[in-house]
Amino acid sequence: MASDNEAYMQLRALAAAASLKISGQREAQVDGVLQSWLVDANMLSLKMSAAEFQALTPVTVFAHPPFDDEAN
């Protein structure tokens, strides 16, 4: 069985990359959610990196600036 130090290595690396401090007492809670979401996110990334979807562009928020007479 992995020690806590090994079990949370990925969490700690990702938290460090984000300059985020996660205390030892909270690691199990955060890691539980993170690991489950990463599995699904990686599956979706695998799907979306398929050749058939190469041309798809991401949804983004498009801003529509106000007309001059609306900018009040």
Partner: protein, 473 residues
Amino acid sequence: MASPYSELLDRSLSDVAGLVRSKQVSPVELVDASLERIAAIDGQISAYITVFEHEARQVAKAAELMSMVGHDLGPLHGVPLALKDNVAVKGFRTTAGSKILGDWIPDKDATLTTRLRQAGAVFLGKLNMHEFAWGGTSQNPHYGAVRNPWNTDRFPAGSSGGSGAAVAARMCFGAIGTDTGGSIRLPSAINGIVGLRPTYGRVSNHGIVPLAWSMDTAGPMARTVEDCAMMFSAFAGHDSHDATTARVPTADYLAVLRKPVKGLRIGIVPGYFFHHLQPPVKDAVQAALKALEGLGAEIVEVEIGHIHGNISAQLTIEAAEPSAYHQRWLRERPQDYGEDVRTLLEVGEMLLATHYVQAQRYRTLLRNEFMEAFRHVDAFICPTLPFTATRIGETKVVIEDGVEEDMLSAIMQYTGVPSLTGLPSLNVPCGFDGEGLPIGMQVIGKPFDEALLFQIGAAYQAITEFHRRAPAI
């Protein structure tokens, strides 16, 4: 047995608006009855964070005086409404259900607040919610867990749980909710009321505390489709203060309410819409489809090949965007978040940029599929969520075969689709389970076609009574 509250409170919003207009009822009577109801039962429900007792009475008195001299402010003249506490009201605390904004007093109204005021609404107060709208239970660690008026041991869903519970329990005639991943539709279904998530860009988010910018919307919650249409008419449309609002003309949403549904084609995706859900929910929604078929609608089976994967995309986007908004507070005041929201914000910071972009590309894929399907159908109908109200405090839910599942993922099974695609969707009550807990169906439409959703919902409510039942509290 006599009702424990004023008979007026059982009237619909549109009914009381008409009674005020014809001077049969005063706005003061409506506000007094609502405040009395709040005082009597909100200790058991925790739907309100702030009640505007003094101000509501003052505004109602002013509305009464104006009415007496023939001055009509608009279609909502003198009608008591309440706002989710992430919608800014000038001069009044707007907490977003958080400790972090616990003392924030906006110096401007949200656009939606202004438009409701201009239509004559009287605000009763601000409604409890899941902290910062990031969650579906409304178990708020700072302002109390919102409880479901149909059974106070059960949750009201969320994040607009206070809005759903207050409307169902007759503590206001209508409420505003906000919806990113389902936060209007879920509490509407679970509390047995109607709620509209508008097309993305149809309603201004100016002055509303954001959750996830690319999916946030605000909309009406009330007991009937007509009530929602009336509220929506007051605030839908382009806003120069919100660059994401579209310049698409609004429709006459009340004019469509009596139009027949005969000949409309309603799409279902059998392998997804009626898969993995509690039997009473499945039975109720299928019965509703039969009822619409009886009115002349045609039910059409449609394939949406890439619908699976939507929950992960939803969670990834809904994790990453709030984590960007909260980045400073999460470092400066982490202890001021509830444990669940803090965890989600931390996880959102640790997903990769490619995860987020692939999720956004998936949205394009899913939207393209739905837009193609709309060549063959006018709307879709599915359950709003796959289960009925769970017990307060549960983080897991059992949908089938005794298997426990994570509540957050399970609750978005059907609401994530419109959220990702930007399509409008309407929850309409369509039944109750064996324990008397409400069930809702979700009607999904083409972009900016809210009018058709109201048309279908109103036709269904004209032949059913589910929306007329009141919780026994």
